[in-house]
């Protein structure tokens, strides 16, 4: 699942540019990790807690809370990424 990096380092060395490239790559790393985080949050309750106790209402609130957090996280990260592209 490896891909070529999107950005090529500029030939003119500049501390600021390198920092922004570095930051952009870590942002992309974070975005790539999102589905893993989501899978963890969504699947573990079923796999580990399984048939155990726990009320349906609590589970409902849990899922929607995780969902919301993931959406906000994704929106923040992608916006930061596109701002980086513009700037």
């Amino acid at each position: 699942m490896s891909e070529a990096p999107e950005t090529k380092p500029t030939p003119r060395p500049s501390k600021f540019l390198e920092q922004s490239v570095y930051r952009r790559r870590r942002l992309i790393d974070a975005i790539k990790l999102l589905p893993t985080l989501g899978a963890g949050l969504f699947l573990t309750p079923a796999l580990i807690l399984g048939t155990g106790a726990g009320s349906t209402a609590t589970r409902l609130v849990y899922f929607f809370f995780c969902w919301m957090v993931l959406i906000l996280l994704c929106a923040t990260l992608t916006r930061a990424l596109s701002r980086g592209e513009e700037g």
Binding site: L34, G38, L43, A46, L47, G50, S55, F63, L70
Partner: protein
């Protein structure tokens, strides 16, 4: 009380509004006003075709029966969109780079443009989608019935005719807005916008019902949670297998469902829209599922025992006398059903038409079809018929199995069916080693196991004995306990075996088989789509006649698009005019463009037909191309350099050819000038001698004087032309800008050329000619007169006809003069604009051959061009003029 008639009226008004929206969007798109049509918001909303009536109504039913399990249907897609960077971004990029038209096209294209794979995936898609369409029709009829149980519920015939009208209406909508553009890569703005509107309607409807239930009925959030705890739903405990299995299924479905692929990849305008959709679409899904459980538990508590939970969204507001709310809910469900059917029908018809109908038609027409047949009309017709057929199939399925419980489980069955594409898809875009045979093997194995363990049992076709004892009474072949794996949920069981054996077959066969050169090229292009940029893998060497290719491309892409493409390619090669050399790069570009309208496999086959090469030699060439492609992967600089060199060499070669042609013709030109001057002088000298002798009768004297006079004028005109040309060439000629309507200028030209009363018919379209021009209209008129006179002189048809057509694009006005004669041979096309370049065949038609040279000079001075347009049937000239704003120049 809402009557059946009111309901039908509301539905009809709603549908009419959708038609209006689609029509308006199509028109705006045509005028280039696409700002909001192309916004990420529209894209995100169009993705909501994922939420069909099955999720709109069924999710509540599902929640009433199986608690939180309904969430998995939304969680899977959420995970896929959160991970857009890894998968969807690549899919969309490949879809755009390779001009993919459908999921079948993607798979076929990746594995060497294989027709077998395209057909297989198409069949899989049709099998999986038909029951799903039937399900939508059923939900619409059920929602009608729920509304007016007394009137319509008792009358089954009414319900069936409702379904029929719905299916017919959807067919009309889809054909109208879904087959307007032939090129599937040209987005269906009308359809997408209508879908986006429907997305809003269904979201608002569900939220309204939910808000009403939570705050209107239950008395707030915490009270609702308490009701949930107290309801039978609270008993539910997650089943790990089903939970993971269904999440996986829905994740697979969002990638592989034909309709999702259509809106997500094919209709995608801009890759960056994905960035927004990555969080906005999960948000949409979350909102859609937010109130599902509250509606379910309140429904269970409020409605009488035995009420169908699948219709709670409707029956709950109805039972609580909220008719307007119920009406809104009805429209929400209606929207969900119709949007799914429309997009599914477009996606399926594209596949069926491109991968089944068209190849069959082509093979029946023989090798000449691509040149002589009107493929474009055949394609549009076949796509329309396919849409009708898909919907008819869905309706038939509804009539046969309608009302049975079998239908309601079909959603997941359908998901599991299309999920069989996943191994071939993922393998295809991440692993270069994946082969066509591997993909075929995996798909067939997965398809068969899915059919046997899930699809056929689900639609109730297998006898009980077989279900209990297995095929041929072999217990290890029991459909729901394959290889003795008992105790699993049937769905999970089927997913497990089909996906496992599908993947194993795909991987194993890929490992032991060797890919053909096309597959290797395509594999590299797909897997490395981000590093290879736009120069995807193509192929073809050979001796395709560019003009034949142009003729074919015009039929498929439309004349203007094809001409633009050819002109651009010629320019990239450093050539003028419309006919680039048939280099491998050009042919593969063309093939990709054609793939946008007919699919990769068909485009490949068509280009090969014209190319005229045996399959074997194409393979050989490919092997070479593959080697060099790999080399160039490591050295893109080398690639640039060699392209530059090639272009320079081509320019030099062209220049040399031209010089040679000119010098060969120089003597002829001089002779021509001599001839043109001496011929009138001969008459003048001879007749003036007669007159000088005297003693002639008066009528003869008069006639001979007139001949002398006319011939003198001819001489003068020739000298004028020569002077005019050298004047223009020296750059001293001043252009006098005037404002005039193109229509008037053409009128003047046609009558000055005497074409209005001559033997030639001139056909024009005055409506297109209403364009205000700011230019030297006398000079422009001179060019038109020249072209019209040429057609009069040289058109050798029995009934000569000249078509003058005007079109405008991107600030440029094109005026085409096309006659129905035999045209100008390709070898002569490049020299006709040279001075005295009269074609040998026409050697004495009475002009000095300066006309076109003057035209070219005049157009250059006016900032435009005049060029020969090949492949139009007869001789065709195009005058292109930049359209300057009247105000701007004044």
């Amino acid at each position: 009380m809402v009557t059946f008639n009111i309901l039908v009226t509301v539905a009809l008004v709603y549908v009419a509004a959708l038609f209006a929206v689609a029509f308006y969007a199509d028109r705006s798109a045509k005028k280039g006003r696409t700002k909001w049509l192309r916004s990420p918001l529209t894209y995100t909303l169009s993705l909501s075709v994922y939420c069909t009536a099955w999720t709109f109504y069924g999710a509540v039913g599902n929640a009433a029966r199986s608690g939180l399990e309904y969430l998995t249907i939304y969680l899977g897609p959420t995970l896929v969109f959160l991970g857009f960077w890894v998968l969807l971004r690549k899919l969309v990029r490949i879809g755009r780079a390779e001009r993919i038209t459908s999921i079948a096209d993607l798979i076929s294209s990746r594995y060497g443009k294989s027709t077998a794979l395209a057909v297989l995936v198409t069949c899989l898609a049709v099998t999986g989608t038909t029951p799903y369409i039937a399900l939508q029709l059923q939900s619409v009829t059920l929602s009608f019935a729920a509304f007016v149980p007394s009137e319509a519920g008792g009358n089954l015939a009414d319900l069936n005719s409702t379904a029929l009208w719905v299916a017919a209406g959807l067919a009309v909508f889809t054909i109208l807005f879904g087959t307007r553009n032939l090129d599937a890569n040209e987005r269906h703005h009308g359809v997408v916008t209508a879908i986006a509107v429907e997305a809003i309607v269904k979201l608002v409807a569900l939220l309204a019902v939910g808000i009403f239930v939570v705050w209107g009925v239950s008395g707030g959030l915490s009270d609702t949670l308490q009701i949930i705890e107290a309801s039978p739903v609270a008993e539910w405990r997650p089943d790990a297998g089903r939970w993971v299995g269904m999440t996986f299924l829905s994740a697979a479905a969002i990638i592989c469902l034909p309709r999702m692929f259509q809106v997500m990849v094919v209709e995608n305008e801009d890759e960056r829209h994905l960035t927004v959709a990555s969080w906005a679409f999960p948000l949409y899904l979350m909102l859609m599922s937010l109130f599902v459980l509250p509606i379910a538990v309140v429904g269970l508590a409020v409605l009488p025992e035995g009420a169908n939970p699948d219709l709670f969204v409707l029956t709950l507001p109805l039972a609580l006398d909220q008719e307007l709310l119920a009406m809104l809910a009805f429209l929400g469900g209606f929207s969900s059903a119709t949007s799914m059917v429309i997009v599914a029908a477009i996606a399926l018809s594209t596949m069926v038409s491109n991968h089944i109908v068209l190849p069959l038609w082509l093979s029946m027409q023989g090798p000449k079809a691509t040149v002589s047949g009107d493929v474009r009309n055949v394609m549009i017709l076949s796509r329309r018929i396919s849409i009708g057929a898909v919907l008819a199939l869905g309706y038939a399925y509804f009539r046969v199995t309608g009302g049975t419980a079998a239908l309601s489980s079909i959603g997941l069955v359908s998901f599991a069916g299309v999920a069989q594409i996943v191994p071939a898809l993922l393998g295809g875009i991440y692993w270069r080693g994946a082969t066509r045979r591997g993909a075929l093997a995996g798909l067939i194995v997965g398809f068969v196991i899915w059919g046997y363990t899930l699809f056929v049992p689900a639609i109730g076709l297998l006898p009980d004995s077989l279900m209990q004892n297995g095929l041929f009474a072999m217990s290890w072949l029991r459909p729901q306990a394959l290889f003795g794996l008992v105790g699993l949920d049937p769905l999970v069981h089927s997913i497990f075996w089909s996906m496992a054996l599908n993947s194993v077959a795909f991987l194993a066969v890929s490992l032991v088989t060797f890919p053909s050169p096309i597959e290797r090229l395509q594999g590299a292009a797909f897997v490395n789509v981000f590093s290879r940029g736009e120069s995807g893998a193509g192929y073809v060497g050979g001796v395709a006649e560019t003009e034949d290719l142009l003729v074919m491309a015009q039929r498929l892409l439309g004349a203007r698009e094809a001409q633009t493409l050819f002109q651009q390619s010629a320019k990239d090669q450093g050539k003028l005019g419309y006919l680039p050399d048939p280099t491998p790069e050009f042919v593969s570009t063309l093939e990709r463009e054609l793939a946008g309208s007919v699919g990769a496999a068909t485009a490949h086959a068509m280009v090969r037909q014209i190319d005229g090469n045996a399959a074997v030699s194409v393979q050989d060439l490919l092997a070479v191309a593959d080697e060099s492609a790999q080399m160039l992967e490591y050295s893109s600089q080398l690639e640039d350099k060699s392209r530059e060199l090639e272009q320079t060499a081509r320019q030099l070669r062209d220049a040399n050819d031209k010089l040679t042609a000119l010098s060969v013709q120089k003597d002829a030109f001089l002779s021509q000038v001599s001839h043109e001057l001496r011929t009138p002088m001969t008459s003048i000298r001879s007749f003036s001698e007669f007159l000088m002798e005297g003693g002639m009768k008066a009528p003869d004297r008069k006639r001979y004087s007139k001949i002398i006079h006319d011939e003198s004028i001819r001489l003068t005109r020739l000298l004028d032309d020569l002077l005019d040309l050298s004047f223009l060439e020296s750059g001293q000629a001043a252009m006098n800008d005037q404002t005039a309507s193109l229509h008037d200028v053409l009128d003047r030209a046609v009558s000055s050329a005497g074409a209005s009363k001559g033997a030639m018919t001139v056909r024009r379209n005055p409506a297109d000619e209403q364009i205000e021009l700011r230019t030297d209209t006398d000079r422009l008129s001179q060019v038109f007169i020249n072209l019209i006179s040429n057609a009069q002189k040289y058109c050798d048809a029995q009934a000569p006809t000249l078509d003058i057509s005007v079109s405008e694009k991107q600030g440029q006005v094109d005026i085409d003069f096309v006659d129905n004669g035999s045209g100008i041979p390709q070898s002569q096309q490049s020299i006709i604009f040279e001075k005295f370049a009269r074609l040998s065949d026409h050697s004495s038609a009475g002009s000095a051959g300066l006309g076109l040279a003057i035209c070219r000079e005049v157009m250059a001075r006016l900032g435009g061009t005049v060029s020969y347009l090949p492949g139009q049937g007869g001789a065709a000239f195009r005058v292109s003029l930049p359209r300057r704003r009247v105000a701007e120049a004044a």
